[in-house]
Symmetry: C2
Subunit: 205 residues, 2 copies
């Protein structure tokens, strides 16, 4: 007898959870039908009802990563300017176990994405959208006098994204050196460095 639709939905959730746990522990390099089946304590044959091919499993994993990133809890966004940028950058960092797992899976996906033209384009598009999301807040910060008048918001958005993603990688490899408070202090130092000193600026030199 085939499972009832409700069971099927619940089982699909179980499968996604198992895929996530395998990714968080072993990355895309360790994502196999066998590893997911072992994680669920089911047969590989059972799992092939969900993923007839390795490719189907990878596609599901990438969709799951996209979905969980979109649905992740985020900090309240202050109204405008650098404090909004700060909240956006902190939302990217591996500051909680959940954030760490997600970041670790993103970093792991880069090997796969760089080897596939379509995935490379998608990933470049993600970075472009991220810069576009940050840019207006840098413009607002400039207009508020928090940043120098000569600031190029697009260039600065690219620098901020680069800094934040590089910090993600350092923190994933060396969580002892980069615990939560150190990551936050680095973001604050970075933001202080781009703000001009003196009244109106964030830099207390």
């Amino acid at each position: 007898m085939p499972p009832a639709p409700g069971d099927r939905e619940a089982r699909r959730e179980d499968v996604s959870e198992a895929v996530w746990r395998v990714l968080a522990g072993k990355g895309f390099g360790g994502l196999t039908l066998r590893a997911v089946a072992a994680e669920m304590e089911v047969s590989t044959g059972m799992l092939m009802h969900y993923f007839p091919t390795k490719r189907a499993l990878i596609t599901h994993a990438l969709d799951l990563l996209e979905k969980r990133t979109a649905e992740r809890p985020r900090r309240a966004r202050p109204v405008a300017g650098l404090s909004t940028v700060r909240a956006m950058l902190l939302d990217i960092l591996p500051l909680t176990p959940g954030d760490t797992a997600r970041n670790r899976i993103w970093v792991s996906s880069w090997d796969l994405s760089l080897a596939d033209e379509g995935l490379t384009t998608e990933q470049a598009g993600r970075y472009t959208r991220l810069r576009s999301t940050i840019r207006p807040h840098l413009e607002a910060a400039r207009d508020l006098g928090e940043l120098p008048a000569a600031t190029d918001p697009e260039q600065l958005a690219a620098i901020a994204v680069a800094f934040t993603h590089g910090l993600v990688v350092q923190a994933l490899f060396d969580p002892g050196r980069f615990p939560e408070d150190v990551q936050i202090a680095m973001v604050d130092d970075f933001l202080a460095s781009i703000a001009p000193p003196g009244p109106g600026g964030g830099k207390g030199r």
Copy 2:
């Protein structure tokens, strides 16, 4: 008849070249005995004389990456201060096809390294050494008055490494948006942002 020692050495070089080309194109996720054999137009059986296991192939690939990184051509190091830091950061970026291949292989290795405790420790050690190499030049820059007196060189070295590695990733995914001159301009903007404005500082605000 076994090959003469000279032949064997030459063949070993051929194998390393083929491993490198596979890594540059497909990353560690695409590194298989079959792919390397195809690249060399030899049988997988022949290749198993060099790499009896997949693990041996991966170990060789990681050693090769380490070796080629250590032996890469580098810019002349100015005597001291921020201009030295600039040369060091530029030496990391994907500014030439060779640099791009090497960076692409490093990024690809992170999936593997994050899944293996020993490799994670080695990678964390590499970042620690990189920060230690940059730090004295930031100290010198501070002592020369190029950086504010309150600069924390260790923290700033970590910020500089994060920025540079994040830029590597953005440039690999979107070389059209981040060609050589844009990457260099970003490094210069980053360095200008950490230097204090006014006489003696590098910031022309």
